[in-house]
């Protein structure tokens, strides 16, 4: 039996599922060029370039950017810029911290025996088996109760009062990202040939040099894919951010969610399209990284 044989049923089902996966995305991108500001029906592309925006009712007749009118509007939108800045700041800081401490934890769990090991290992599975909303409201309760207590006890007023913001979002992101980094790095460490390290030790390297010159370079691709996974999880997060953000820490998913409850112009579609393109490039990079790594292994 030829293992690469494709039955017509499987082929048809696969094509249909791919259509199901991509039809909404294609629709989303198409509507980002919608001439209609109301964005309910597709009223065609914006036909002309002109010095200034010409509207007729809710239809854009011409624009300095032509069909890319909504992308230009997006570029002028300060709220989007601020939300994008917040999202990236949080993701960068949270990724750096969670990658460092997650890798340390993976090394500890894979290489060492210590008293709290079962507890540490078990805590890594919490974000997988518990719904995000449960974590979200738990963290919200912790912060609000603790901040309330501190503010009251120390009589803090005005700007000195502790409140939800960038710091609480970042700290909470780290909490759900660390387990993913640790589990990915741990999986790489499991498939690790220890004879390289033994050889280094035999040749007189001490533990630190062995780690820096042998272990670390070998597990680096694993760390990198863990970090990239964590980064994407942070950029993408809605639920945890929803419960832990405060004034001035709106992220892109929160911003888009807010828009969906109000008036939706094709600008939202333009934002979504840019976002999908960024994801496309990121996933492509991740794939190239993983391919290179699997080639190194073989």
């Amino acid at each position: 039996m030829n293992p690469f044989r494709r039955s017509p049923f499987v082929l048809t089902a696969a094509v249909l599922v791919y259509i199901f996966l991509y039809a909404p995305i294609i629709g989303l991108v198409l509507y980002s060029f919608n001439a209609s500001r109301a964005n309910v029906t597709f009223e065609g592309f914006i036909p002309k370039y002109s010095d200034r925006i010409v509207m007729e009712g809710s239809l854009v007749k011409s624009s300095p950017c032509g069909p890319f009118h909504w992308y230009c509007e997006l570029a002028k939108n300060n709220d989007v810029a601020e939300a994008a800045g917040n999202t990236l700041t949080i993701a960068f800081i949270a990724t750096i911290i969670s990658t460092i401490i997650g890798t340390m934890a993976a090394l500890a769990l894979q290489r060492y025996n210590f008293k709290m090991k079962p507890f540490s290992q078990l805590s890594l599975y919490i974000p997988i088996v518990i719904p995000e909303i449960v974590m979200g409201i738990g963290i919200l309760t912790l912060f609000s109760q603790f901040f309330g207590w501190v503010n009251e006890t120390f009589n803090l007023v005005g700007n000195a009062r502790l409140s939800l913001g960038m710091a609480t979002v970042t700290a909470s992101h780290i909490a759900f990202m660390v387990p993913f980094v640790a589990l990915v790095v741990q999986a790489r460490l499991q498939g690790f040939d220890k004879s390289y390290e033994e050889a280094a030790m035999d040749l007189g390297a001490n533990e630190w040099i062995t780690f820096r010159r042998v272990t670390f370079p070998i597990i680096l691709p694993g760390i990198m894919s863990g970090a990239l996974l964590a980064f994407t999880l942070s950029l993408d997060d809605f639920v945890i951010t929803f419960f832990t953000n405060g004034p001035g820490s709106t992220t892109l998913p929160i911003y888009v969610y807010g828009l969906l409850r109000r008036i939706i112009t094709p600008q939202v579609n333009a934002l979504s399209t840019v976002w999908i393109l960024v994801v496309f490039v990121a996933v492509l990079l991740l794939q190239i990284l993983q391919n290179r790594e699997s080639k190194d292994h073989s």
Partner: protein
């Protein structure tokens, strides 16, 4: 001190694992305990928590009500029980639908030529990493009365000379189900693919040599060996569906209320964190029970990390 650290492997391990363990303890485990404590509390008039020990929130959640129509002191109000039941059955339906869509595609990718496999996988990753909120929005546009689905059905109806008036698909239970299936489909495809790809192809030769036909081979070889992937995928789908509130919020309007919406509203609109905490713990217990019995029956595959 430093000398001891250099010699004691156990101390080194503890030190390496310490930051993660402390972080998770403070931001995951303490909040869970806090939720438990708050759930036994009572709401103060200004929306704060009064710490007492009462089961009121739980009895209210399971239908005990003192707000009765015909002057009775207490009666059964199925409001919240219905919400819990609706969430469970939606999570169940979503999981079954997602498995039946994901399995053929995962099978297709796993049996594709190795050179094309990465591209097919890449095509699954793009929707997976497209933001959750954006994906709900995409369906909002499709399901509207003026949306693409109505337009396409209209064309087909016109072609077949059947009368058709566009109808509102948004803000219905069906819209929420479609949205959930769409959101979580990739989480099922990847683990099933991983377990299918691991199957030793010589098993198929053996099955064929022993005279099994295609259906029998699938039922006796492929399906059992891909179960770890299905189990991992189910965990990755069932648990988040139980707790998600965006899909029902955007695609269900105010018509479809799930546990997630109930909890969210207690913390934002209704401002009763004690009742919200109780609901959230019940949600957690429900998912843990389902996960426990499910994994005890089928095992807990390592596929879960791969996705």
């Amino acid at each position: 001190m430093l000398q001891r650290l250099r010699e004691s492997k156990s101390a080194q391990g503890t030190l390496l694992a310490l930051p993660t363990t402390v972080w998770l303890f403070v931001l995951l485990i303490i909040p869970l305990f806090l939720t438990l404590i708050v759930s036994f509390g009572r709401r103060s008039p200004d929306g704060n928590v009064i710490y007492t020990f009462t089961f009121e929130n739980y009895t209210r959640l399971f239908g005990y009500s003192t707000n009765c129509a015909n002057g009775q002191p207490s009666c059964f109000d199925p409001l919240y029980v219905n919400i819990l039941g609706r969430s469970l059955s939606l999570a169940f339906n979503t999981t079954v639908l997602v498995i039946s869509l994901a399995y053929p595609l995962a099978y297709f990718i796993a049996r594709a030529h190795p050179k094309q496999r990465n591209m097919y996988l890449f095509m699954v990753l793009i929707p997976l990493w497209t933001n959750f909120v954006i994906r709900v929005y995409a369906w909002m546009m499709l399901l509207r009365k003026e949306g693409a689905i109505n337009i396409i059905i209209g064309w087909i109806a016109h072609f077949l000379h059947i009368p058709f008036t566009p109808f509102e698909m948004l803000y219905t239970p069906g819209a929420v189900l479609v949205g959930m299936v769409y959101e979580f489909l990739p989480f099922m495809i990847l683990p099933i693919y991983t377990s299918l790809e691991k199957i030793d192809l010589s098993l198929y030769e053996a099955a064929a040599d022993l005279g099994a036909n295609a259906i029998k081979t699938f039922l006796r070889v492929t399906l059992p060996l891909s179960m770890p992937g299905v189990v991992a995928g189910t965990i990755l789908v069932f648990i988040p569906v139980m707790g998600t509130f965006i899909v029902s919020d955007i695609l269900g309007g105010r018509q479809v209320i799930l546990v997630g919406n109930l909890i969210q509203r207690q913390f934002l609109d209704a401002r009763d964190p004690t009742f919200g905490s109780a609901a959230s713990l019940i949600l957690m217990v429900m998912t843990l029970i389902v996960t426990y019995f499910y994994t005890r029956k089928f095992g807990f595959g390592e596929e879960i990390v791969v996705a």
